[in-house]
Amino acid sequence: MAGEKIRKVFFLLIFLVLLQLLPLNTAQAVPSFARQTGMPCNECHTVFPELTPFGRIFKLGGYVLSKSSKPYEFPPPLAGMAQASYTDSKGLTSGVAPFDSTNRTTDRINLPQQLSLFYGGRIYDKIGAFVQGTYDGVSNKIFLDMTDIRYSNNTILWDKNLIYGLTVNNSPTSQDVWNTTPAWGFPFASSSVASTPAAGAIIDGALDQQVGGIGAYVYWNNLIYLEGTVYRTARNGITKPLGAGTTTDQVVDGAAPYWRLALEQRWKNHFFTIGTYGMQADIFPAGNRSGPTDRFTDIAFDAQYQYMGTIEAEHMQDHMQMGSEHMAEEGKHIITAHATWIHENQDWKASFPLGNTANPSDFLNTFRMNMNYYYRSHLGDIGGSIGYFSTTGKTDPLLYSSSPVDGSRTGSPNSNGFILEADYRPWDKTKISLQYTIYNKFNGAHSNYDGFGRNASDNNTLYALVWLMF
């Protein structure tokens, strides 16, 4: 029996290695994008999935930039992804999911952690999509993951470029192009089985695949980005397909507006961005589908700095005047720093009368910042990140109650800590990461945080990941 399991794992690994060797594309990230544009992956990504300035423009352009003149192409732009991981944290057991443990949520080895199939590229003319279908090896479920379908065009407004478009997506902030916002923020991958703090703002992943929305955006003069999107529940109606395979736990009542404003400025190789985003959603208490709702109002600010040593330093105007025959010299250093702060007001108009919360209203403040450095060497891209995270909020003993591992003895949502990560991209289609998460405070306390003798440091997590694209 054990031999059979090992054989299955072995054949899976061989299969994935063979996929890497197939000459399917010149590059990766989502390799279908590379096939469509004829550009290498590192034009759009520093180390995937983090975007470069050009990657941001490609996404805003609706994923349709192509080396072909045809409005659509056959075969369709499909790509795949496989993640295999190892997690070491107190309380996890050794198993080889999905081949071994019956309780995969406590398995140290996740093989696979995720398998994804992407539709990434042009659908027709100016309509393109990033659609991810995922098999989650931990929950053993298939579902529609991040989805962003766009129409985009460009023109001149007030003598400057204007990109404008529409987005249909299923996760607030998944449509955003800066890696400061939650959906594509740091850490770009993390353990599916390690314990994580109980409190989080709704815009911080709680509504992923729970809603579907349509929005409009403009990006003027490579300077100002403005977007408005309206979401509704993916439990029923026209948005139901956007939540395919996911149980809708957070049922949004009516429309939930989302906004985004960002300013980006380039100075030589340096790209600076500051912005704000947020949303308001009325959500039924767990188990309810009608009646009063709780209101969540999230207001966030973010900032990003990106140094692209891979872009020539001189100002572009000089070369434009030359008429063009300039050969760019490729540099090797990339630095990106991200920061975001999210304030959430929680108005428990429904949950407080039901006795689910101790306060009629609460709040949460989430702060995250990190800095990445990558060096492009002849042996591949190598680098790492250091990050800090903090969640603070109002104490609510009913909302954050005492229970083993995931609970809070103090009723406080406060957590903070650091993430250290080393990354190596030996070749285009593979990324290897080693990540260590250190908790200073977890669910309100440093020691005995759950009331059952568990300390914050017991949740420190070592996470090793092999991430393959094909």
Binding site: L65, S69, N222, R266, Q321, M322, G323
Partner: protein, 119 residues
């Protein structure tokens, strides 16, 4: 009667030929305009000045077609080679000879004139 009809046909043909030629040329221009819009404009810009929305973040910078220096020497061959083979970070494009010809036609009619005016 036949002679009159023959003469009329010759006159009609001779009269229509320039219009026909202009129409073919116009079709090529329009085709080139569409191709330029879909394949080139995002980097090289609506005005061909190398200042499209994607220009600023690019490694290297898109060529400015409104600069008269660009239109020197064997420019059509240069454009054709660049589209076919790519250059620096510009990828090779999968365009047919007719499509490349149409793009060159559009660029010549639009940006070359702008370059001359800039001088």
């Amino acid at each position: 009667m036949k002679r009159i009809l023959g003469c009329a046909m010759v006159v009609l043909f001779l009269g229509a030929a320039p219009l026909l030629a202009k129409s073919v040329e116009g079709n090529e221009y329009d085709k080139g305009k569409t191709l330029y819009k879909n394949n080139c404009q995002f980097c090289h810009g609506i005005r061909g000045d190398g200042k499209g929305p994607a220009a600023e973040p690019l490694l290297g910078h898109p060529v400015d077609f409104t600069n008269s220096k660009f239109w020197q020497d064997d420019v059509e061959k240069k454009i054709e080679d660049t589209i076919k083979k790519g250059k620096e970070m510009m990828p090779a494009f999968d365009l047919s000879p007719d499509e490349i010809k149409a793009i060159i036609s559009y660029m010549s009619h639009t940006f070359k004139k702008a370059a001359q005016n800039n001088n």
